[in-house]
């Protein structure tokens, strides 16, 4: 039994975290365009450039990977692929070294690349121009995080790549993936003019029903899972459980709520992480309670969580700051003003809060600054403001509503504090 569950976990984890691409129904329709483009370049020696634009998690990388994998098997000539990523190649020099390394050109010996930047560039351009559209092998350049490449100096790499694509010598396909919708604006004029302005927008046009369907598709196991009879019987039970779960009203509510926040696949995957990881011999099927538990974690307000754990003294200070912000209509306050308010409050209700002296209150204030619940108004500190840290103007980064809820939920909150918060003047 344990083995069956381990296998279930492996399959589901691969779907969530691994490279399993079966469950991306949102990108299938874009595959055709991409396939056509690359096929044309390989078969007929055309050079092209394309930008794939879509938000984070919409499936651009997956799309490209699946398309390329499919085509590799079908094409007549081998396609050389050069993969670049804006996060890794932060500079044109590094990018160029990486290109020559991936193309295994003659001036590389193992991993090292010789020559200065301009020499390497010269060599690369000669090598690529030397080809012709019929005899040379087609090259596919994949540039992930394309918008980061536009921030390099002079955009030399982009200029040269698009220039080569336009020149029509070696068949070249340049595909850029980015999440910025205004990426065209980021390119310089000469680069923009060499770009073919072909753009593929990956936008997910799902409805709530599609989302629910994706949920059950993600969890259903298919016939490929049946290795032994035990597996087979478990499969039937599992699948019926999944169908039941998808029809459960509370689960549907949770999914609809998540759908209203974000339509993309990662939001669905986020909800499913905890229930899937919990599967073991004692807990063999996913229940609606698991989903509800996971949803509670995902929808919880992080600032409220942090406020739950501050000390009573710090809570008093926050309430004092809230009053000051209300009185002074959003202007900044400093530590002495807060301390003054605090003293006014404690003088009235001596028996509740022990008298804390100034250094202790200052320490609590600094802790709040570390937690970034308050922030100094000016970010650059001159020497004078460092010496006078008690007088530094600060602002509170909490809304009154959040504060009210936090005080309401605070364990063992003294009622005087709640009354103080609700009164408009001290």
């Amino acid at each position: 039994m344990n083995q069956v569950l381990l296998d279930v976990q492996s399959v589901l984890r691969n779907r969530l975290f691994g490279n399993e691409t079966k469950c991306r129904p949102d990108i299938e329709k874009f595959q055709q365009d991409l396939k056509d483009l690359i096929t044309r370049s390989v078969e007929y020696g055309e050079s092209n450039s394309l930008l794939v634009i879509g938000s984070k998690g919409s499936g651009k990388t997956t799309l490209l990977r699946t398309t390329v994998d499919l085509l590799q098997k079908k094409l007549s000539k081998t396609l050389i692929i050069v993969r670049l990523n804006g996060y890794m190649q932060t500079d044109d020099r590094i990018a160029l070294a990486e290109i020559t390394r991936q193309l295994h050109l003659e001036n590389t010996l193992g991993d090292k690349v010789f020559g200065s930047f301009s020499e390497t560039l010269q060599f690369l351009l000669e090598a690529l121009r030397g080809g012709s559209s019929h005899s040379s092998q087609p090259i596919l350049f994949i540039l992930e995080e394309f918008d980061l490449f536009t921030q390099h100096k002079n955009q030399t790499l982009l200029y040269n790549l698009f220039d080569l694509a336009m020149a029509g010598l070696t068949p070249l396909v340049v595909v850029g993936l980015t999440c910025r919708l205004d990426v065209i604006e980021l390119m310089e004029k000469r680069v923009k003019s060499r770009f073919s302005h072909r753009q593929l927008y990956i936008c997910n046009q799902w409805t709530a029903e599609n989302y629910l369907q994706a949920f059950s598709d993600m969890l259903l196991l298919d016939a490929g899972f049946c290795k032994t009879t035990k597996h087979k019987s478990f499969l039937e039970r599992w699948n019926s459980n999944v169908v039941e779960l998808s029809n459960n009203a509370s689960v549907q509510d949770i999914l609809k709520r998540q759908f209203s926040i974000s339509k993309e696949m990662p939001s669905l995957q986020c909800l499913l992480v905890q229930p899937i990881c919990k599967l073991n011999v004692n807990h063999q099927f996913i229940t609606a309670a698991d989903i509800a538990d996971s949803a509670r974690n995902v929808f919880s307000d992080p600032k409220a969580n942090i406020l739950h754990g501050v000390s009573v003294l710090e809570l008093c200070l926050i309430i004092a700051m809230n009053h000051l912000t209300n009185i002074y209509a959003g202007e900044s306050f400093n530590f002495h003003m807060v301390y003054n308010e605090f003293l006014k409050f404690t003088q009235k209700k001596l028996h509740i809060l022990q008298k804390h002296n100034k250094p202790v209150v200052l320490k609590a204030f600094e802790h709040l600054m570390e937690l970034e619940l308050i922030k100094p108004k000016e970010t650059t500190l001159s020497l004078a403001s460092k010496l006078l840290k008690e007088y530094q103007p600060t602002i509170l980064l909490l809304e009154e509503q959040q504060l009210k809820e936090a005080v309401y939920r605070y364990p063992g909150c003294p009622t005087e504090l709640q009354q103080w918060l609700e009164s408009s003047t001290v």
């Binding site: 996060y87 890794m88 590094i94 999440c179 992080p302 000390s311 002495h336 804390h356 002296n357």
Partner: protein
């Protein structure tokens, strides 16, 4: 797994969640994990326990120690590779390649966990660093999980362009009962559990209201335990005389409360070094001044007056100078405007404002009784006050009209003026 549960009380749920998330050694897990919670809520402890206890392949780096990206990369690579010696790594590209090479050399199928502690520091470095690290699994193509640990909620990490959100996990703070459990777990070896539990309960009843930080509570509990035990060790009281034990410990706890959060040098060492306690008794901490002990700062006579006049110049509006310092200034007419101004006498709340040198010297000459000729020696005392950080110099114009601000507190200046028999309160606008 049972061992893990026994040695970390009150964190069972988190241990279970983490173990489930990590799964078997070869299982893939989330690409990046973000753990947040208050300081002292056990994040690093639990993580360490799970990773070491289950013998998982991992590296831990602290982003405060590795304050440059080079250090960050080299620490990780050196921890993973079998070779001795330093590995140089300047940029992300080399880091990814070296990481891939090292892990493939090792030929393990297990997930690699890289833990970044205090990761809020990563925001201040290169803006591309944090997004790249979040995507590390995709960039390297390895079976990897990047774990980020911090106090702040994830929303503080958003910057300009979108970044991939990690799986977020919260470590809640301890409740009162949980704190008792944890503190009893951390007790010194020979003590009896029930007795210690009673003691911790007493301490918490007094301190839990004020603060909840585990580290501070632990420190307090440890230093006061010897006082609590003292009558029992001496034989005067037995374990059942709870009321008398409480009466014995109460003054110690109250004085600890005064010194709350201030780890002064005397805490915990009182029994060991008698001569140290003598000198520390001279430290009067009960007043709770922010003063660095005026006994330690001896200023020459004129410097004291210069400091006093700078304080007056900082905290009095310049329109009131006439009234305080001119002889026969006459009475100020009580106009409607001045009545309104009197209601807002809070210069001390606003902080010191800057004043030109001339004004300070004018006040100085008027408060010092004798005739003082202006000399280079006098002005050099001003520079020494600036270097002692009792005055702060501002502004670009240093030669013609330098501007200053006084940075000392009211308590400090009253103490100084007492030593020269000068009543500074009488000259301050806020106290008239």
């Amino acid at each position: 797994e049972n061992m893990a549960k026994n040695s970390l009380p009150a964190r069972n749920r988190q241990i279970e969640q983490l173990t489930n998330l990590f799964g078997e050694k070869h299982h893939h897990t989330v690409e990046s994990l973000y753990i947040y919670g208050h300081t002292g809520s056990g994040k690093s402890c639990v993580l360490n326990h799970v990773l070491v206890g289950n013998d998982l392949f991992h590296v831990v780096v602290n982003c405060i120690e590795c304050y440059t990206t080079n250090l960050l990369f080299s620490t990780i690579l050196e921890a993973l590779s079998f070779e001795e010696g330093r590995i140089r790594c300047d940029n992300m590209n080399d880091f990814v390649r070296c990481l891939r090479k090292i892990v493939e050399e090792r030929e393990v199928e297990e997930t690699l966990y890289i833990v970044f502690e205090n990761c809020e520091r990563l925001r201040d470095k290169d803006p591309i660093l944090l997004p790249a690290l979040l995507n590390l699994k995709e960039l390297t193509g390895l079976n990897l999980c990047a774990i980020f640990v911090s106090e702040l909620p994830w929303e503080k990490f958003y910057n300009g362009t979108a970044i991939r959100d990690p799986y977020v996990m919260f470590f809640p703070d301890y409740s009162k009962d949980e704190l008792v459990e944890v503190l009893c777990h951390l007790r010194p070896q020979e003590t009896d559990l029930e007795f210690y539990k009673q003691y911790v309960g007493l301490v918490l009843s007094m301190f839990f209201f004020a603060f909840r930080d585990l580290r501070e509570l632990r420190h307090l509990v440890e230093i006061n335990f010897s006082f609590y035990e003292q009558p029992i060790v001496d034989g005067k009281l037995t374990k059942d005389d709870k009321h008398k034990l409480w009466k014995n410990i109460e003054p110690h706890l109250t004085s600890s409360l005064q010194k709350l959060l201030m780890r002064e040098a005397c805490n915990g060492r009182q029994s060991n070094e008698p001569e140290l306690t003598e000198s520390i008794k001279a430290y009067d901490l009960s007043k709770g001044n922010t003063v660095k002990s005026q006994n330690l700062v001896e200023l020459p006579f004129y410097s004291k007056f210069l400091l006093i006049s700078s304080y007056i110049a900082s905290y009095n509006p310049s329109s009131t100078d006439r009234r305080f310092f001119l002889k026969h200034a006459g009475r100020m007419r009580k106009t409607a405007r001045s009545m309104k101004k009197d209601d807002h006498k809070n210069c001390h709340l606003r902080g010191p404002h800057s004043f030109p040198l001339d004004r300070m010297m004018a006040i100085f000459y008027s408060i010092v009784d004798e005739v003082v000729p202006p000399s280079a020696g006098l002005f050099s005392q001003i520079s020494s006050l600036v270097s002692l950080h009792l005055l702060a110099q501002l502004g670009q114009d240093q030669l013609d009209m330098p501007k200053y601000k006084c940075t000392v507190s009211l308590d400090f200046i009253t103490a100084i003026s007492k030593t020269v028999n000068f009543d500074v309160i009488r000259y301050l606008y806020d106290f008239v």
